[in-house]
Symmetry: C2
Subunit: 434 residues, 2 copies
């Protein structure tokens, strides 16, 4: 039976999961692919820590170069993360003719073109299913199962930390700050949670999915990003009142010559299946002309789910090695000469439904003033409600709108916030998924 040797760069949480699957499920994998995958070398700075797995002697090294230059190693799995040493090692490994598996979405979102070009030129494969939504096979589905369909939009809950925090806020009525602390205590959030809670990690993932879905290169700067740190219990409460849940959504839509790509909190109606995605779970909805709506749901992070995604890529590449069918599928779904530039609409140009919350003095004529400004900007109201009781002479009014253009909404809210009857900045949350 044929053997394919694998080298692992980085043996932290996910790396340990990968080693565990490779070692403990070796015979299971063999029974499916008809070849033996062997974890030949592992590089990590910490070679002594007990990882709870029986490694063969001499597997560990602190020097990643030993792996990427080992002629017996065919597949290199990069799980170091970040854009520094990981990038150099991937490029060198490509240059040495290794097949690459990585979960490094930050690197791919930022330097994807450089890395894909290098791999293409060298004729090696590069797979990254684990980079987006953990074990959910979203990359494979977009690249393979949707290859005959025109993809219209992608709507995803792609960050488990944010979804855990928002789910906690919804269930318990606690503040963002308290939910974040709880997430940190449970290991669902990093000590510095900025990348997650400010939507940046989600934007990385959306950029990758958008490229694959529509065959375009997308600059991370063009993705509109708004995090969840400003979401308050009163907005969570109002979402419930409107039959919605607040989720951090990654949305991209293709209109042929233009696309939308945006990350922001949104109210999602409870009868939309995305509203059922609780805790730290992820989900991606793909809408295609032929398939209609399709949703994939699963663990978006965690040791073993992410390790499984890494292994599914590894097995794909192993099958390509066994069949001599490298680069069987283009990295970004489209043939190189068919990747085109599609311009991203600025956020001001999108149209959606909105929720507004205004704090205003409790005086006659307040509602007339606000609604008249909204009307001037072509914003049609669906509902208007006073929430709670008068506090210090101020009341809270919440409104939902029909479809409106964001530029109009922004100008209207600016004008409203200048009124002397308004006691604090208006709050806006988009409503999606009706």
């Amino acid at each position: 039976m044929k053997t394919i040797n694998i080298g692992l760069l980085g043996c932290g949480t996910v790396g340990t999961g990968v080693a565990k699957l490779l070692i403990e499920n070796q015979s299971l994998i063999t029974s499916r692919i008809g070849a033996v995958l062997v974890l030949k070398r592992v590089a990590d700075i910490d070679i002594n820590r007990d990882r709870g797995i029986q490694f063969d002697k001499g597997v560990f090294t602190t020097d990643p170069e030993e792996i990427i230059s080992d002629p017996d190693i065919r597949i290199v799995i990069e799980l170091i993360g970040g854009k520094g040493i990981a990038k150099d090692l991937i490029l060198k490994a490509i240059d040495n003719g290794k097949q690459i598996v990585t979960a490094n979405k930050a690197l791919l979102a930022d330097c994807g073109t450089l890395i894909f070009d290098a791999a293409k030129k060298k004729g090696v494969d590069l797979a990254f299913e684990a980079g987006v939504a953990g074990c959910i096979p979203i990359i494979k589905t977009l690249r393979e199962s949707m290859a005959a369909d025109r993809i219209k939009s992608i709507t995803g809950i792609l960050n488990g930390t944010c979804n855990y925090i928002l789910s906690k806020c919804t269930e318990s009525g606690i503040t963002f700050e308290d939910a974040l602390k709880e997430a940190q205590a449970k290991g669902f959030a990093e000590a510095d949670p900025t990348l997650d809670v400010e939507g940046i990690d989600t934007a990385h993932k959306l950029a990758i999915l958008t490229s694959i879905a529509y065959g375009t290169e997308i600059d991370l700067d063009q993705v509109y990003v708004e995090g969840i740190s400003n979401i308050t219990p009163v907005d969570i409460e109002c979402a419930k009142f409107f039959g919605c849940k607040i989720k951090l959504l990654a949305i991209s839509k293709c209109y042929g010559d233009t696309i939308e790509a945006r990350v922001h909190p949104a109210m999602v109606p409870c009868d939309n299946i995305l509203a059922s995605v609780g805790g730290s779970m992820n989900a991606v909805q793909i809408s295609g002309e032929a398939v209609g709506d399709m949703v994939l749901y699963g663990h978006g992070a965690g040791m073993m789910p992410t390790a499984n995604a890494v292994l599914s890529d590894t097995i794909d590449l192993a099958r390509n090695i066994l069949n001599n069918s490298g680069q069987r599928i283009p990295f970004l779904s489209y043939q190189h000469n068919h990747v085109r530039h599609i311009s991203v609409l600025p956020i001001e140009k999108i149209s959606t439904c909105y929720y507004f919350r205004f704090s205003v003095h409790d005086r006659a004529g307040v509602l007339a003033k606000i609604s008249s400004i909204l009307g001037n900007y072509n914003i049609s109201l669906k509902s208007v409600n006073q929430k709670g009781e008068r506090q210090n002479g101020s009341i809270t009014i919440v409104m939902t709108t029909h479809l409106a253009e964001e530029s109009n909404v922004r100008q209207a809210l600016q004008e409203i916030s200048n009124l002397d009857i308004v006691t604090s900045s208006p709050v806006l949350i988009r409503i999606e998924g009706k």
Copy 2:
């Protein structure tokens, strides 16, 4: 640029969708796979009907032999259905070295071994994603994305007709018969709905998924099957009372040396994502040791969603042709010599939670008698409630249980139904997905 010629056997609803995608999305497909897929011939008894597509002249024939013997055709798509002529044509096409795509789950569930063996021997590929759950990429996910994981269970809503009927019953409180009529009027149910509503179609699909998930051959006769035609408005109402929805579930579980494989209506708690699967939609939950729970949701039938699944297979086979990598993945996920016999547990041996409904005379001591029998059979009650008012001296009592063994449940219900206080046969619905 390379061209791959395709022949289509059967141009009904799904066949027309396949032709539409192949013709109208030809350049999109080319931009993804780097080769041109050409629909060279179509065989159907009705060659004159306007299908709303611009076919090339001379594409149609009434003689399928012209397609399966055409040396220029590499991939044959079989969409005739059934176990008669479809089987003969597939076997002949295999013998002629054609790659096969089919959506014929009845044929594969029944004669899969014969057909897979023929394909294996001849060295051709045979793909059948469209056979289970329409556009949902469940076969690809099990065979490829889960190839490193040990699959523990599959729970699916695999029949759109049943889900439409049960959803209608739940929303509108109408009877099964009225919901079926509505489904027939809307084209969601056949004139003879037996295959769907009695769970047989679901069993075909479950047999296929079970084989792939655990690497076993499964005889259709070993799948326990119970349809939805006995579900009444009162049970739907009781399900709501217990915070559940009734769904027709396909369930298979692997315990290493034994498996469960069963199709029956079940109460699913509303906080389980499967309960959110409404209308004619399908969903499959896969539980794996590494991935935990994963759910794929989408259209399980219909012209274009099913056509997309057929095309995704066709593109996979085209990629194999272009890369000379035929049989890259074993049809049933496991290498031939690793497919083993795993015995299916008889339904009496399963353990789950139950809902019972009893119609009894409204007399003192009734509850004591029933609960004493249940206790004798080791069935522990979770809740007991009287539903509705006394009618003709009879009342309705509903109960839910903790985990109990089916054989005990059956014996207990038999004993209870013999009591003179019981006015009609007890009703049992399993509770799943807690």
